[in-house]
């Protein structure tokens, strides 16, 4: 029987605020354990939370970027459970009244577009970390991460394949990074994903029993874990057995999901509105202000690039994969006035150099102005495209302008007809055999003469001019 997977994702994204959600401690990653803590985030007796307004604004941005409805009033709730990384014994989260609901994002697949529903986006605080000593029967608690602001983005169970799930995840990731509200680092845990997966016979309306997958800290792992889990559930169903509702952890080294059974008892979190915090009221003016602050989003940008710059969808996709890259390209396009050529250089040489060194576009030694200048030098014939290929290597290596590189290397293209005529005449005179063959009808030898002229001019000759002169002079008796 053909089965259809049903997938819903819960994404936790750490927000890039400078301070924590309810105190003024730094959110910086990687500091000495417990150095970014205070009585508030350590859950000491009597302390009280005060909401960081930036967290609300960042969450509003994500809500607006994903077409969610922003609720006029929302509040925080306490999620009660015991764990040593949770110093208050409850996590401050949102429950009955989240900040935003009912949104969507569109994903692009080979077969076209698909809309994935977003159930809700809400704010909450992160928990700390436990460090286990392998030799002692004890654990250490690091509360630096406690109180770092998170948003939780819950999707509808709208995805029907691993590819859709990964495409959705990448889309969310791209938007968060575009909005500059999350650094998107999956390995450091600033972008985390849990998945709910179930299978049902194709055509069936009812959902099957689902499992929840955790611990997938890269896009690749999400892909692998989902593929594995879909196959696992399919085997169970095909053998006539039932899938057990449970949480399963992805084990990267073994390449399989494993049951957390026993550890995960059914939790009753006893949610209730946090009496230490007041409801957040969001009026139209605030929403409008946030709307105005939104940058152009990746999908809109992509469509604009295709339309305005006449570049292929694939190239537009690559160029808009980050706000910085898109900005770089647009700057080169604007300064050179040649968007298509600019796109070729950025997509080709610039990205290749950067990828080889795993550098970001923000660190690119070739400034947009330099690249634009180089494109113009090709356009006005000062250098050839072939010369440019060498020049840009130097520009990338040294950070120098194309003019400087050209001067240093003496790479000016010979465009003076008189000088070149002389060289062409010399080349023809030095190759009487080839000349005779050419005139005898072996026209392929034209290329041979071009090569000889190039060699004689060390590649500096304007190829178009060579062609013209050769044609003319070879024809002369």
């Amino acid at each position: 029987m053909p089965y259809e997977p049903v997938i819903g994702l819960e994404v936790h994204a750490q927000l890039l605020t400078e301070t924590k959600i309810f105190c003024s401690c730094s959110t910086q990653f990687g500091a000495e354990p417990n150095s970014h803590t205070c009585p508030v985030c350590m859950g000491m007796p009597g302390v009280l939370p005060v909401l960081n307004r930036k967290v609300v604004e960042y969450t509003m941005k994500m809500a607006l970027a994903t077409h969610c409805r922003i609720n006029e009033a929302c509040n925080f709730a306490r999620k009660n459970y015991f764990y040593p990384d949770l110093p208050k014994g409850y996590q401050i989260s949102q429950y009955a009244q989240p900040l935003s609901e009912h949104g969507y994002v569109d994903i692009e697949l080979d077969g076209g577009k698909k809309r994935i529903g977003i159930t809700r986006i809400h704010m909450e605080e992160d928990a700390g970390k436990l460090l286990h000593d392998e030799h002692l029967p004890s654990s250490y608690v690091d509360l630096n991460r406690t109180g770092v602001p998170l948003i939780e983005i819950v999707s509808e169970p709208d995805m029907r394949s691993t590819d859709e799930a990964v495409a959705y995840l990448k889309r969310l990731h791209e938007i968060l990074v575009y909005l500059e509200i999350c650094d998107g680092n999956m390995e450091e845990g600033s972008f985390r994903c849990d998945a709910n997966v179930s299978l049902r016979p194709r055509g069936e309306m009812m959902f099957g029993t689902r499992t929840e997958l955790k611990n997938m800290n890269s896009f690749r792992n999400v892909q692998r874990a989902l593929d594995y889990e879909i196959k696992r559930q399919q085997c169970i169903l095909e053998s006539g057995q039932d899938v057990i509702q449970e949480t399963r952890l992805w084990d990267d080294s073994k390449g399989e999901t494993q049951s957390m059974r026993g550890k995960e008892e059914a939790h009753d979190y006893r949610y209730f509105p946090d009496p230490d915090l007041v409801p957040i009221v969001i009026d139209n003016a605030w929403t409008e202000e946030m709307k105005k602050s939104l940058p152009e989003l990746p999908l809109e940008k992509r469509e604009r690039f295709i339309r305005d710059y006449q570049i292929p969808p694939y190239d537009a996709g690559v160029l808009t994969s980050s706000r910085a890259l898109a900005g770089y390209f647009e700057e080169v396009a604007r300064l050179s006035g040649k968007p298509k050529i600019a796109s070729n250089w950025v997509m080709g040489d610039v990205l290749r150099f950067l990828n080889e060194e795993k550098r970001d576009i923000k660190e690119c030694p070739v400034l947009p102005g330099s690249l634009a200048e180089m494109i113009q030098l090709i356009e006005d014939g000062t250098i050839s495209g072939k010369m440019a290929k060498d020049i840009i290597v130097e520009m990338y290596r040294t950070g120098k302008s194309p003019q400087a590189v050209i001067e240093e290397k003496g790479m000016i293209q010979i465009t003076d007809e008189g000088t070149l005529e002389k060289t062409v005449a010399e080349v023809i005179a030095a190759n009487p055999t080839q000349l005779a063959q050419y005139r005898g009808g072996k026209e392929k030898l034209f290329g041979y003469f071009v090569g000889q002229v190039m060699k004689a001019t060390q590649g500096k000759a304007n190829p178009q001019l060579i062609n013209e002169l050769l044609k003319e002079m070879l024809a002369k008796e």
Binding site: M44, G46, V50, P84, G89, R270, F272, L277
Partner: protein, 486 residues
């Protein structure tokens, strides 16, 4: 120096400023009295002698430099519920034994800014859960008027210390009557301000939506002075209200001519002690003698107050007390085999019976499947109780009720009957549910010589009105001045 115990903050402040007495002398005087009398009363969990004398010395220097804080050099007792930097703060619980906060509660900061002297930590019911100061891990506090009786609670130590002149004034907290009921039972003045008026930051939480902080004093003027020192907006508390604070001493001796004073019919119920009923009749006469008119009003949802309170307060407490898990601070027993075992051992041995009872009630009320029937319903009824008061205050300027249905009861009398114990707060709980301010002032004695308190209530942020009516009442009620025989 025996006459010092007759003096109020207002009077002692003058002596200090005129250098008739130094803060160190004053502090030593109270330290002496504590040594002499507190063995019987046990109002203090801990006396911070060295700390107090250092603060007194600093205050004397400041006085010499011409500084003039509102409480400069005044020795106060502090309920052991306020986090105080460098001073063990236990909330009268074993689970916080040894906990030394690295920060000051906002109220402690404010008192420090005014130059107070910290005499010591006053006893209370464990985590402020109780009406008799019998649930403290550090033992019971006795009523100075009758050592066989309780001082009320949960701020029993704060009330008893002022009644026994073991400090000039003290600070307590009130979640369902924990300031006003012990003030009544010990014959002193006690005020619970409006929710949001005095910062809760650093007050160890019992029930966050109900907890408020307030003073115990010998008279209403001192109450106004203390309120001037502690009231005001605090950006560290989200529920703190950014309103200007008036000078409360300006409300003293303004009189209440032409006022309407509401007498809620639901508060004069069966089971009120007959002497208290008589005292209330006299109080009504006094109020009318001051030129006010007493009008009968109705607070129709009064009968639900106790039930609503005993859902909301334990529910919030069950969550507030989750942080005491043995992981970070305070008490943790040795020899746990794993994490769950450590949690169980810590909380089983760390909390007393009443605290556990309330954690269990609260956990139950919030459980899935019960939330709507209990917590949600209680929150809805709470809104109705609040509305009762809003409507009542369209008909009157203030409300007069007994503070407690009975005078101080015998030690142990209600410990086995939580429901009877909970009834002690029947007249004070509604105030916390509505968030309005209330004050208890002495209003006479029972035939057996036990103090009786009258409670005045006013609308949100109208503490000034309470000072106004309570000071007028205090002046004209002609309450016999007595001191407990120690």
């Amino acid at each position: 120096m025996e006459d010092i115990l007759e003096l109020t903050i207002a009077q002692i402040r003058e002596l200090l400023q005129k250098r008739k007495i130094s803060s160190v002398e004053l502090t030593n005087y109270f330290l002496e009295r504590i040594k002499r009398f507190d063995g019987d009363i046990s109002s203090y969990i801990k006396v911070t002698e060295e700390y107090a004398l250092k603060m007194a010395g600093d205050a004397d220097k400041k006085i010499a430099d011409g500084e003039n804080g509102q409480l400069l050099g005044i020795p106060l007792g502090i309920k052991d519920i306020y986090c105080t930097k460098g001073i063990e703060t236990t909330c009268a619980s074993r689970i916080l034994k040894g906990f030394i906060p690295p920060y000051d509660a906002t109220i402690i900061r404010r008192l420090k800014d005014e130059g107070y002297v910290h005499l010591g930590r006053l006893n209370m019911d464990e985590f402020a859960m109780g009406s008799s100061t019998e649930t403290s891990y550090f033992g019971i506090t006795r009523n100075p008027w009758d050592l066989e009786r309780i001082p009320g609670g949960s701020s029993g130590g704060s009330a008893a210390a002022v009644a026994a002149d073991e400090c000039i004034a003290s600070i307590g907290s009130d979640t369902g009557g924990s300031i006003r009921q012990p003030a009544a039972l010990c014959g002193v003045v006690g005020m619970k301000p409006t929710y949001g008026r005095v910062s809760r930051f650093g007050l160890i939480a019992f029930a966050s939506s109900l907890d408020q902080i307030g003073p115990f004093t010998k008279d209403v003027e001192d109450c106004a002075i203390m309120m001037n020192a502690i009231a005001g907006y605090d950006p560290r508390e989200s529920t703190s209200v950014p309103l200007n604070v008036p000078d409360y001493t300006e409300f003293i001796s303004r009189g209440i001519g032409g006022w309407k004073v509401g007498i809620p019919k639901e508060y004069f119920i069966e089971g009120i002690h007959p002497d208290i009923e008589k005292a209330m009749q006299r109080a009504i006469t006094t109020v009318e003698g001051l030129g006010a008119t007493c009008v009968e009003i109705s607070l129709p949802h009064t009968e639900y107050c106790l039930a609503v309170y005993y859902i909301i307060a334990p529910a919030e407490a069950s969550s507030n007390l989750a942080r005491y898990d043995g992981v970070k601070y305070g008490f943790r027993p040795q020899g746990s085999i794993d994490l769950l075992d450590m949690y169980k051992k810590t909380r089983s041995a760390g909390f007393g019976a009443e605290v556990k009872r309330r954690i269990m009630i609260g956990t139950y009320a919030l459980s899935s499947g019960y939330y709507d029937a209990y917590y949600k319903k209680a929150s809805q009824v709470r809104a109705l109780i609040k509305r009762d008061f809003t409507e009542a205050f369209t008909l009157c300027d203030a409300i007069l009720t007994p503070t407690s249905p009975t005078p101080a009861f015998k030690i142990g009398e209600k410990m086995d009957d939580p429901l009877q114990m909970y009834l002690s707060d029947i007249f004070t709980i509604s105030t916390n549910l509505a968030g309005i301010p209330g004050i208890s002032v002495p209003c006479g004695f029972t035939k057996d010589g036990l103090p009786i308190g009258a409670q005045f209530l006013a609308g949100h942020f109208e503490e000034g009105k309470l000072i106004q009516i309570a000071s007028a009442f205090e002046k004209y009620a002609n309450i016999e001045k007595r001191r407990p025989a120690l």
